[in-house]
Point group: C2
Chain length 304, copies 2
Amino acid sequence: MDRYGGIEAGGTKFVCMVGSGPESISAEVRFPTTNPAETLSRTIAFFREQQQMAPLAAVGVGCFGPLDLDPASPTFGAITTTPKPGWANTHLVRALEQALHVPVVIDTDVNAAAYGEYVWGAARGVSQFIYNTIGTGIGAGAIIQGEPIHGLLHPETGHIRIPHDHGVDPFPGDCPYHGDCFEGLASGNALRRRWGVPAEKLADDHPGWELEAHYLALALVNQICMVSPQRVVLGGGVMKHASLFPRVRARVQEYLNRYIDRPEIQGEIEDYIVPPALGDRSGCLGAIALAQHKERDWRLEIKE
Amino acid sequence: MDRYGGIEAGGTKFVCMVGSGPESISAEVRFPTTNPAETLSRTIAFFREQQQMAPLAAVGVGCFGPLDLDPASPTFGAITTTPKPGWANTHLVRALEQALHVPVVIDTDVNAAAYGEYVWGAARGVSQFIYNTIGTGIGAGAIIQGEPIHGLLHPETGHIRIPHDHGVDPFPGDCPYHGDCFEGLASGNALRRRWGVPAEKLADDHPGWELEAHYLALALVNQICMVSPQRVVLGGGVMKHASLFPRVRARVQEYLNRYIDRPEIQGEIEDYIVPPALGDRSGCLGAIALAQHKERDWRLEIKE
């Protein structure tokens, strides 16, 4: 079976794997994201060592953004305007292709994770769904007709505007661009700044969880009304708090108020709003799945 | 050239056309939407008369919803839970196929209009965009990778939740399901109820237009962040007020606050947020385009 490389290029850590699916990962390494030169050279060293054992067919990358994903652009495959020091205008795809001499596929971290859940995880069998990660920040990937969507740029769902009742929640939001957008109100960073402790330290009966469920449900209602996903996956560190899933599901039903009259929402909503099945490996496995998917396309193109 | 039928099945009127594109409509009829029996029999009579002159290859329908668009469902092609008296559970596709003996394609009114704008109108050349109609109600269709999207049901973008400052705008919203959702705040009906006069009677300098632009811009920001469309089309009666387009464009730029760093938004936003090019024919022409598109697929399937 062909071996693929997968990279989850995150803002705090890089995860690199070699394999062809969740049951066949033969090597894995994790290290902190420092500056681009050091981080890329560790990445390249890992895959070169792997290539000495056996060739890699392709490498997939799920990367923090914003990214240039326009194949016609001269800066295709680069990280563009990130505020992360040193990383703006990093030509990730070019650097990896030049060093490893294999095709490299790139997508956003959340589109890669969504694709991993689509191929091997919680979204098998549906062709249209949304994957959200509620962590330090908030991001979402979307699969439509079996493909991650891009468009003008790529989804930036963390920055949608949702209702914010300043009387109930005087916290102004902490998004540097938009203040009280979805991410500004509901990310792990927002929780920490609003309550003065990290999310994982908030007591189970803290009113912050009910408020969090409220904001998550508003954002999910918007996703359901706008994209009509067949399933919604909610991952990320904040979702590890056990009470959130039942609270979010109940509020989504309440806020939709039977308008979307489908059994998936009115009935078995436990199967509609779900955690990821690949845990914290969604992103890196998704990068491998993207590499496999694209490599098959390239082979077909060559044959034609 | 093959002749196709197109039907815009609206809540207040039906439009039926025969032709193969905007420049080749050979017959057209419009009549009010009354009860299903009468309305469908007028529709069928028009197309039968047309069939006596020359055959129709297929008929497309863009219909008010919600619709059952799941091809595996026994009620595929039916209007489902509409509050419109008499129309719930109307099997539109079945009735037309049985009477006209041609393949019938159905989609939502807004997906059909979006598809018309994609094939012949304001969205030619882009593969991912959103079409909004801001009329008595609010609806949106979405084309992604060149196809109208459906998913669990179909988009119901009028019902997303957006910020509502009750201090600035004490109107509670008029959506019977959600109160102050996007449609409840910004539809033609909402304007009429908030200000006591129909939208077309509001003076040019009435503060209602600035408020309307604010709500439209919030909804567009959510669409842009969630779906990353390459263009946004804004149609419908309310958009005929000339001052709305420049106001909405300026506010979208302001609310995105340079976060989506693309020239389409920062620069030539006049080419990004645009009116429909087919005017009030988008829906019916789009139904014809859908019929052509699907009929080609069927012919390919038969050949295989």
